[in-house]
């Protein structure tokens, strides 16, 4: 050491090393002396531990028996009340817990108190010796040499081509995971449309009764589905797109943009209930602040401002459903939504 002209900086002395004096370390004193346990010296203590282990195993046996009591005595199949079911479930759990803990704690107690507690020392070995590694390399070289793959590039290249192509059909096999039988273009078109259409009545979710404009008071909110939803093919798929929140607020308090002036009926407005973030239903309407809150990720939409995002992760406003009243005074849709509902996607535009 101290020779600055040779070796890496690490060894040249340019780096401060507290223990630079070669191996200035405390010697390894070896394993501490073994301390005998009580049971190693006192046969009575050993006998006591033996009884404790046996007691734990006995507790396990009692636990198993208790399980059967819970299974047969507490449970009358098909005629249990919910409270009885809970009691039975707790009893089954406790029975199993004691059955298992009795065995487990017993064995560990046995191992810790009665089996030898001398730590033993074993040497580690090299994972693989240098010679084995060399032998393996030689074998692989021989194998590759005997195939002649290096000398015959034509075979090699066509094989690579064949192997690269062969799995591709397996990927295409998954094309029909999409069970609709429609083309991609048709599907993307379908995502833009819901059951709402000109003259479709707004009805209560889930009863399906139509809503009169006069039913909707200031500050109230209705969960709405389109009329005839229950008869639709793929009812849940349609519902997942068509659910709507209907609310009423003072038209004077609403900022209405151009082209949407007649989308409401005296301050009764309908917005898609599907969050534009990742699609949870927006279930919470706070009438004092006229905010809509999505319970999943807390996107907050302002009803007074055409449900624009005022907080949270959503990236665009809730789509509005244009509504009007029909001859009988019921609320109906003027048309479908003018933009796709729900979370954004690449083709949404």
């Amino acid at each position: 050491m101290g020779d600055h002209s040779h070796g890496s900086p690490e060894e040249s002395g340019t780096v401060a090393k507290a223990d630079d004096v070669a191996q200035d370390r405390f010697p390894d004193p070896g394993l501490p002396p073994h301390r005998p346990r009580l049971a190693d010296r006192d046969p009575r203590a050993a006998k006591r531990h033996e009884r404790q282990v046996a007691l734990l195993f006995t507790i396990s046996i009692i636990g198993t028996l208790f399980f059967f009591v819970a299974y047969f005595v507490l449970g009358r199949l098909g005629e249990m009340t919910f409270a009885e079911l809970r009691v039975q479930n707790a009893a089954l759990g406790l029975g199993t817990a004691f059955a298992m803990l009795g065995i487990g704690v017993g064995i560990v107690h046995w191992a810790k108190t009665l089996m030898p507690d001398h730590e033993l020392v074993e040497q580690r070995h090299e994972i693989s010796s240098e010679k084995d590694r060399q032998d393996a390399v030689d074998i692989i070289d021989t194998v590759i040499e005997e195939t002649g793959i290096k000398r015959r590039p034509l075979i090699r290249n066509t094989l690579i081509g064949a192997i690269a192509l062969a799995p591709i059909p397996a990927i295409f096999m998954f094309r029909d995971l999409d069970r609709t039988g429609k083309t991609a273009h048709q599907m993307i078109e379908q995502m833009r449309h819901t059951l709402w259409d000109t003259g479709v009545r707004l009805t209560r979710d889930p009863s399906g009764t139509p809503i009169k404009a006069s039913d909707v008071q200031l500050g109230s909110a209705f969960h709405v589905i389109p009329e005839g939803l229950e008869n639709a093919e793929n009812m849940l798929n349609e519902k997942a797109k068509a659910v709507v929140l209907l609310m009423r607020m003072d038209p004077q308090e609403m900022n209405i943009s151009e082209g949407r002036e007649d989308w409401h009926v005296d301050g009764i407005v309908a917005y898609s209930k599907i969050c534009t973030h990742v699609g949870c239903p927006i279930a919470l309407y706070e009438q004092h602040t006229h905010h809509l809150l999505c319970p999943c990720h807390q996107s907050t939409f302002d009803l007074a401002n055409e449900c624009k995002v005022i907080f949270g992760p959503a990236g665009h406003a809730l789509p509005q459903l244009p509504i009007t009243v029909d001859a009988d005074g019921y609320l109906v849709a003027q048309s479908d939504f003018h933009e796709p509902v729900g979370p954004s996607y690449w083709e949404r535009g």
Binding site: R25, P29, L92, M115, L120, R179, M191, P206, K239, V309
Partner: protein, 556 residues
């Protein structure tokens, strides 16, 4: 093989063993494993917990498959839970109801399965933290670290696919979120969602598909990785904590037969017992309260299982708008506008991606920075690797901020604070939390190392006040014993290695970056006490401060 002196067994065990051995050659196995030494430490149990909860998952899961009907066929529930009688739901939900209410012990098995799953991922995570903080991932165990990381991801996959199977309201909303995240992927997202759900969300195909993933593909991969993982543990032999008598070349511990096998085997029953206790007394996933999936209702305070929480929290933390700037980018193309949904893509992919990338790459990053390519079978005490411990703490805080964000609404309602404020604070912590965690943890580690030096140099306060003949008072210090002193001074002390020239005498850019990292990590360090320092300390303080009768402290 005819041998002249064939082994003749004399006992029943011997005859049985002889029968088996002469047919399958089991004696080699017994010789290899019968007395194999395993080091013992409480922190080595986490991996065992993961293994045992996985066994419980297989047992309880198999039971559940006998009763579960993975079908989305719409039927009317007619089981014994009265409030839902006559309600339409999928066959999957109805059979889950039947398991809960009309199969004796079925509810118990469902709860065992669910609690085991939560514990499985928890123990995997804690096990990985143990491995990380003790440096057990270093050569030769880097690949096993990677296998473990993939196992964690597969654990998440198993949990997620299983969570959705009952087709109840809560898990249906979880799928809805997955659908939203999938659709956010550029170009392929919409197609992926259509393929996954067999058409539009929710469709009638997704539950059977999740089912085959959940009960076949994912567990098969987990079992395969588990076998590889354990095989490598045997090949490498287990790491051990440092201490007197424990070197890089030996293993100190208990033999498999009988002590280790008894402890580990007994521990399986303990884990089983604890899971059974929890499952008996603590209700989990009461689907009858949620009802069947319906795209319209959702309950407030919805939460995923804990291990998905960090991704859900990241989704919550992301602002959709910054001022008037929306993170949904409309990109005009010649064929029309396309939407890049960064408000979903960034939080769903980037934090988890960074976390797992750094985690997988860490053994190589550390090797690169420290230039330490030696085999390590002795673990580090976390304080003795301040840089690594600090990085780990930063990662944990990063994860936990996102995890806490998944409960932002519950934090707000429980502590009576504004939901928006919780989110703002967590957004700040998302960026600053890891930095503070790194800094504080490193300072704590360095302080603990200094404390260790102090203990070695000046001994431990004996609590005895002595008065000198001159009238001065001093506290007697007792020198630490030779075993403890070895433990406190024998650690692997990483140092700053400046950039070094390569063979051509050129210092490359990557070498400079490495040196910068090395400086950042190791500029502050506490070196272990050396014998000469201790001697100097003894000389400086005289004998009244460091009392240590030779025969007391160095007994062999």
């Amino acid at each position: 093989m005819a041998t002249t002196n064939e082994y003749t067994p004399s006992t029943t065990t011997g005859r049985l063993a002889n029968f088996v051995d002469s047919r399958v050659g089991a004696s080699g196995m017994v010789k290899e494993f019968g007395r194999k030494i395993f080091p013992d430490h409480w922190s080595f149990m986490f991996g065992e917990v993961a293994l045992y909860t996985f066994v419980l998952l297989l047992l309880s899961g198999t039971f559940l498959t006998f009763f579960f009907d993975p079908s989305m066929t719409h039927i009317t529930y007619n089981g014994s839970y009265v409030p839902l009688k006559g309600i339409g739901m999928s066959a999957a939900m109805a059979s889950t109801m039947d398991i809960s209410f009309d199969v004796r012990g079925g509810l118990f098995m469902r709860q065992v399965h669910h609690w085991s799953a939560l514990l499985f991922v928890a123990s995997l995570s804690v096990h990985m933290l143990r491995v990380f903080f003790t440096g057990a991932f270093r050569r030769p165990r880097e690949l096993n670290w990677v296998v473990g990381g993939v196992l964690l991801i597969m654990g998440l996959a198993a949990g997620f696919t299983g969570y959705s199977l009952p087709d109840d309201l809560l898990s249906g909303n979880g799928l809805r979120i997955i659908d939203g995240v999938m659709k956010a992927l550029p170009i392929v997202g919409t197609y992926l969602s259509m393929f996954f759900f067999g058409g539009e969300f929710p469709g009638v195909h997704v539950i059977p598909r999740l089912y085959s993933l959940h009960i076949m593909i994912v567990p098969a991969v987990i079992i395969l990785l588990l076998v590889i993982h354990l095989f490598m543990v045997v090949t490498h032999k287990h790491t051990q904590y440092p201490g007197p008598g424990r070197t890089n070349d030996n293993v100190v511990g208990f033999p498999v037969g009988p002590v280790y096998a008894a402890k580990a085997g007994g521990f399986f029953f303990i884990v089983f017992g604890i899971v059974a206790f929890i499952s008996g007394l603590f209700q989990i996933n009461p689907i009858w309260n949620y009802g069947p999936y319906d795209p319209s209702p959702v309950s407030a305070g919805t939460q995923p299982d804990w291990y998905i929480g960090f991704v859900d929290g990241a989704l919550r933390l992301m602002p959709g708008y910054l001022g008037n700037f929306s993170f949904e980018w409309i990109i005009p193309f010649p064929w029309g506008d396309n939407t890049l949904v960064l408000s979903v893509l960034l939080p769903a992919l980037v934090p988890a991606g960074v976390l797992f990338m750094v985690m997988f790459a860490w053994p190589w990053i550390e090797r690169w920075v420290t230039k330490d390519n030696r085999e390590h079978h002795l673990l580090d005490r976390p304080r003795n690797a301040p840089f690594r411990t600090a990085m780990g703490a930063a990662g944990v805080v990063f994860y936990c901020v996102m995890w806490a964000a998944a409960s932002s609404d519950l934090i707000a309602t429980h502590f009576h604070v504004a939901l928006n404020d919780v989110t703002y604070w967590l957004r700040i912590l998302f960026f600053l939390g890891p930095i503070f965690a790194f800094w504080i943890t490193r300072r704590i580690c360095l302080s603990l190392q200094r404390k260790d030096r102090e203990i070695v140099l000046h001994g431990r306060e004996a609590g005895i006040i002595q008065m000198s003949p001159e009238g001065g008072f001093s506290e007697k210090h007792e020198e630490v014993d030779v075993y403890k002193r070895f433990l406190l001074t024998s650690y692997n002390d990483n140092k700053y290695i400046p950039a070094q020239p390569d063979a051509a005498g050129h210092v490359s850019g990557s070498e400079k970056r490495r040196a910068a990292l090395s400086k950042f990590f190791f500029e502050d360090r506490v070196a272990p006490v050396t014998p000469s320092e201790l001697e100097a300390a003894h000389a400086a303080h005289g004998h009244h401060e460091v009392e240590g009768e030779k025969q007391d402290s160095i007994e062999k």
